[in-house]
């Protein structure tokens, strides 16, 4: 049962490593968006510190969303998706594998990069750790929810824009609790509650989203 998930992850990671430009474009997008704000707002440390959680989280969210259209599009175009749907293994498990692989090449590097970018906003060290932790906890939910949108818009013309319109509103809870965790840490309240809710969103998202995405894919293949 779990071998099929690990096989899917292994295949998708290998493919991603053969196309390093995709990974790099997501990371550079995040770096640039997060760097534009300090340049635009100016060197007022208090203001930047207040802006930081929201700006960095929105940047991470948009960067994740940037790579979503390709989640299933390549497999759809070359016929691999048909073969996955005809495999005697549940399609939901293979989608789960693809979601995890997507997180490993988008959410994980974003979480590692975020503290470095946080320095530009003069965030205190504690808040930098919370920032990395919250992105680490929250991005699997983003990949999962994004997979549903990617499945629903598969094969549509102009699907990329539609995908953003569909998925970004669903990202709001993750954004609120993610940025809220960093905020709470800056103001000294402690991020525990926010991080717990983020973890709950991720667990829920990973449990349900792959099956919903698999159903959407089956419709796209008809």
């Amino acid at each position: 049962m779990f071998r099929i998930v690990s096989h899917t992850i292994a295949r998708d990671l290998r493919l991603a490593l053969r196309r390093p430009a995709d990974l790099a474009s997501v990371l550079f997008f995040f770096i640039i968006v997060a760097s534009l704000f300090p340049l635009g707002v100016g060197p007022e440390v208090d203001l930047l510190r207040q802006l930081a959680p929201g700006v960095l989280w929105v940047g991470a969210l948009l960067a994740t969303q940037l790579s979503l259209p390709r989640l299933f599009a390549d497999d759809y175009r070359d016929g691999t998706l048909e073969q996955l749907a005809l495999s005697p293994n549940p399609l939901g498990l293979m989608v789960l594998g693809k979601v995890i692989a997507h997180w490993l090449v988008s959410g994980l590097p974003l979480a590692l990069l975020a503290p470095v970018l946080g320095l530009q906003f003069d965030l205190p060290t504690d808040a930098l750790w919370v920032l990395a932790g919250s992105i680490l906890l929250g991005t699997p939910a983003l990949s999962g929810i994004g997979a549903i949108g990617a499945g629903l818009t598969l094969g549509l013309r102009g699907g990329g824009v539609l995908l953003s319109l569909l998925v970004l509103p669903l990202y709001i809870p993750v954004l609120i609790f993610g940025a809220g965790a960093v905020d709470a840490s800056v103001s000294g309240l402690g991020p525990g509650a926010h991080l717990s809710l983020l973890a709950a969103l991720t667990v829920g998202g990973l449990a349900f989203a792959p099956w919903a995405a698999a159903a959407a894919l089956k419709i796209a293949l008809e």
Partner: protein, 205 residues
């Protein structure tokens, strides 16, 4: 073993075909014929369970394939007109990855042997992007060498192949039928495949 009962297919506002029925037993081959746009690929996708028929039913071993679901898919090998290979992976990696995702264990030696049979020895580790159209098709067909599932559904398997490869593929399909397998295929090329019985179904006639 495989039965189609009164299948109907509607694409957009057009009815492609209706009342398509046939039965196929062990060792038998069904040639699907018809001009472009007659609905050959649509019928094949219906037989796989990828798209549901407008009306009618496909049965495998007497039970509806909708009900059998994974049990039916475990008996099915479908080769579409898309090759389902990844340009970024080598033929060997492609073959191993697709076997694993189909839920089968394929040893690396068997995969190498299959690639040698389709005439790709020496190119096992070359990235597929650098292969020709015919060679990519051969990578897709290499799956069939180790394939022991009873039902093969092949959509235009001979496209882009040279004479030598066509002969090889005819042999592979013939061996499959002699083992008691079933095959449904479309082709525009006249080929002679040794089978228990060859049926022909003409769509849009």
């Amino acid at each position: 073993m495989l039965e189609a009962d009164n299948l109907e297919c509607i694409r957009g506002a057009r009815r492609l075909f209706h009342g398509v029925s046939f039965g196929l037993a062990e060792g038998e081959l069904l040639f699907l014929q018809g001009k472009n746009g007659a609905g050959k690929t649509s019928l094949l996708r219906m037989l796989c369970g990828l798209s549901p028929p407008e009306s009618g039913e496909v049965r495998w071993k007497g039970a509806s394939i909708r009900k059998l679901a994974d049990d039916f898919r475990a008996d099915l090998c479908y080769l579409g007109h898309l090759n389902a290979i990844k340009e970024e992976l080598s033929p060997l990696e492609n073959l191993l990855a697709s076997a694993r995702l189909a839920g089968e264990d394929l040893a690396a030696d068997d995969a190498l042997d299959a690639l040698a049979q389709v005439g790709l020895s020496g190119r096992e580790d070359l990235i597929c992007r650098y292969l020709s159209q015919g060679q990519k098709r051969r990578v897709a067909l290499a799956r069939l060498v180790q394939e022991r599932r009873p039902l093969w559904i092949l959509d235009e398997p001979f496209v882009a192949l040279d004479v030598h490869a066509v002969d090889w593929l005819v042999g592979i399909i013939g061996a499959h039928l002699q083992r008691g397998g079933l095959a449904v295929m479309t082709t525009h090329q006249p080929v002679e495949i040794p089978a228990g019985a060859v049926r022909v179904l003409r769509l849009g006639a």
